[in-house]
């Protein structure tokens, strides 16, 4: 009799109505609340992060106003703080990193997705991903003892000898400076941009390649005419994600940029980024205004990276419908 009732739609409805009184549903409500709390904690965290940074930098904001962003002097003894050189250094070092890193990354991604034989593809992808696992501070140590001296001589000396008439490549060859920071950033963005670019290229349908090849295109023409245009926005997203990483990169940059605090046309000069200033000066900050100015610098840094990341996520999400494709 009951079995028959269950087969009818009414019976099914009756069963669902009875469920809320089952003992298991108390557990359901509790576990739902617990999991929801954990999920929503991400939103709370983001809000708290923003609030805390604004709150801690209120002293600096009220003292300097917009002058903080345009000011070029950073003098703790004179209680004067201007962030312009740090913002300039952050942007310029990241741009150098991208200029040097993007062609190599995209090229490597093309190799991994289009050219490499299958047996080579996985080991190579793995090695490139391992580069991302090298801790920043270890890269920085390598930068101090290997990269920066090499940048000083022969890189900077020969650049000055041959293209020294360009202001970018003129000045004393310290080694430690903007150029070294840019180089180390190019190494750091390489695995990110390569991995994401490879993924978006692999997502291009084979039919696109076949159509191009059927027209008599060479392999390179297939890549440049069909594959790259098809996943263009994904590639742009990958580059911007790399930019986001470069902007906030701290340890490796701090260790090779040389801690100079001025805006200079020469890439050979020691410079500072927002992150490197924070890392090297926070423990020396002795009075409230100093700490507050550093927190405001962190706030600006977060603002820049937030903007860049939101842009990149939107671009990459649009191309790769499944968000799982994109990982850092």
């Amino acid at each position: 009799m009951r079995a028959e009732r269950r087969r009818t739609p009414e019976g099914a409805a009756a069963l669902t109505i009875r469920r809320p009184w089952r003992i298991g549903n108390a557990g359901d409500a509790v576990s739902r609340a617990v999991f929801a709390a954990m999920g929503l904690s991400l939103l709370a965290l983001a809000a708290l992060l923003l609030y805390e940074l604004v709150f801690q930098s209120r002293l600096s904001i009220s003292t300097f106003g917009w002058g903080f962003i345009t000011g070029t002097r950073w003098d703790a003894a004179a209680r004067e703080f201007g962030a312009a050189p740090a913002i300039y250094g952050t942007i310029v070092s990241s741009v150098i990193g991208l200029v040097l890193g993007v062609p190599v990354s995209i090229g490597a991604a093309i190799f991994l997705s289009e050219i490499a034989p299958p047996w080579l593809r996985n080991p190579f992808s793995f090695l490139v991903e391992m580069l991302a696992a090298v801790p920043s501070v270890v890269l920085g140590l390598w930068g101090i003892y290997v990269l920066a001296p090499w940048v000083g001589n022969p890189v900077e000396t020969s650049l000055r000898d041959h293209v020294g008439f360009i202001p970018l490549f003129n000045g004393p060859a310290f080694g430690f400076g903007m150029l070294a920071a840019g180089l180390i950033l190019s190494i750091m963005v390489l695995p990110i941009i390569t991995a994401i670019s490879r993924d978006v290229m692999l997502a291009v349908p084979t039919s696109q390649r076949e159509a191009m090849a059927a027209l008599g295109a060479t392999k390179w023409e297939v890549i440049s005419g069909a594959v790259l245009p098809y996943c263009r926005s994904g590639l742009v997203g990958a580059v911007i994600l790399g930019l986001g990483r470069a902007l906030g990169e701290t340890m490796a940059v701090t260790m090779v940029i040389g801690k100079g605090y001025n805006i200079s046309a020469s890439l050979f000069q020691p410079a500072s980024t927002a992150a490197s200033t924070l890392a090297s000066e926070f423990n020396e900050a002795t009075y409230d205004l100093y700490i507050s100015a550093l927190v405001e610098l962190a706030l600006i840094l977060m603002g820049i990276t937030l903007l860049v990341n939101v842009l990149a996520r939107l671009l990459v999400w649009r191309i790769a419908r499944s968000p799982g494709l994109v990982r850092e």
């Binding site: 999920g39 991400l42 709150f55 801690q56 289009e114 391992m130 920043s136 501070v137 290997v146 926070f282």
Partner: protein
């Protein structure tokens, strides 16, 4: 089509393809270069004292970084205790409960949080924990690292949970098992391996972080394993302080510490990958 056009196209093809291959080899070459240097420099300054002794007084040779290694284990362990359960919970919420709109908002926030520079997280926790408690501590460092781990674990857990076939959930529900029992006893065990992988990758990331520790752990040349009692040391911090310091003994120890750190991080990431591959 003239022969010269054809030859030009073939030449472009050959040039660009070899350039791309060259770039790929260059990328791997940089890795080999860095690892080779860390290996060569690190192994020569590595000995048993390094692991079991405390730092020698400034300027004296010898000594080790036992306090830093212990501190790293302690802070990363603390961070894992907070970050991994919360991250997996958030992943469960995203894959099992959240509606489309809310899910997308949380996912987006998690991705954006992943992109926030770790040094900013450090400053955040400095204001939130260090200033309120009045001193630097392992707890502050653990919280900072946990915040870095949380969005990574949440997103990877969600993806792994989504891979569990719907039929398995339906089978459990059809047996009359409540939803929370289904999640705990069916969905999570099926996705277990993937969840461990995500957690391990987050641990590897946290173990190599330096920037947030500057404002939370501070660093300490003496033995400390107190949760709230005061500054604590960590391996990445020690590498930084020794690396930019003036003494040769310090530099050697920095290389040795780098070797240990890189080795640890690689073993963890490798384990994570192998775990996922073996199906």
């Amino acid at each position: 089509m003239s022969t010269s056009t054809y030859q030009r196209r073939r030449a472009t093809n050959a040039l660009m393809l070899s350039l791309c291959s060259l770039f790929a080899f260059a990328a791997v070459g940089v890795l080999v270069l860095i690892l080779g240097f860390v290996l060569a420099k690190g192994i020569s300054s590595l000995n048993l004292d390094f692991f079991i002794h405390m730092p020698a007084p400034v300027g004296e040779p010898g000594g080790g970084v036992a306090n830093s290694i212990a501190g790293s284990f302690f802070t990363v362990g603390l961070a894992s205790l907070i970050g991994i359960p919360a991250g997996i919970g958030a992943g469960v919420f995203l894959s099992e409960y959240a509606g489309h709109r809310l899910g997308d908002v949380i996912r987006f926030t998690a991705d954006v949080l992943t992109g926030v520079p770790s040094i900013v997280i450090g400053i955040f926790v400095y204001g939130l924990v260090v200033l309120k408690m009045g001193n630097f501590s392992a707890l502050a460092a653990g919280i900072a690292l946990a915040i870095i781990m949380l969005p990574i674990v949440a997103r990877s857990s969600e993806e792994m949970l989504r891979l569990v076939p719907h039929s398995q959930r339906e089978a459990a529900l059809a047996l009359g098992i409540s939803r929370w029992r289904t999640i705990l006893s069916v969905v999570i065990p099926v996705a277990q391996r993937g969840l461990v992988t995500g957690a391990l990758l987050a641990v590897a990331r946290a173990a190599g972080e330096t920037a947030p520790l500057i404002f939370t752990a501070l660093g300490n040349r003496f033995w400390s394993l107190s949760i709230t009692g005061g500054p604590i040391d960590a391996l990445p911090l020690r590498i930084w302080r020794y690396g930019i310091g003036p003494y040769d003994e310090w530099h050697q120890q920095a290389w040795a510490a780098s070797f240990v750190l890189v080795f640890t991080v690689f073993v963890i990431s490798l384990a994570a990958r192998l775990l996922l591959r073996r199906r």
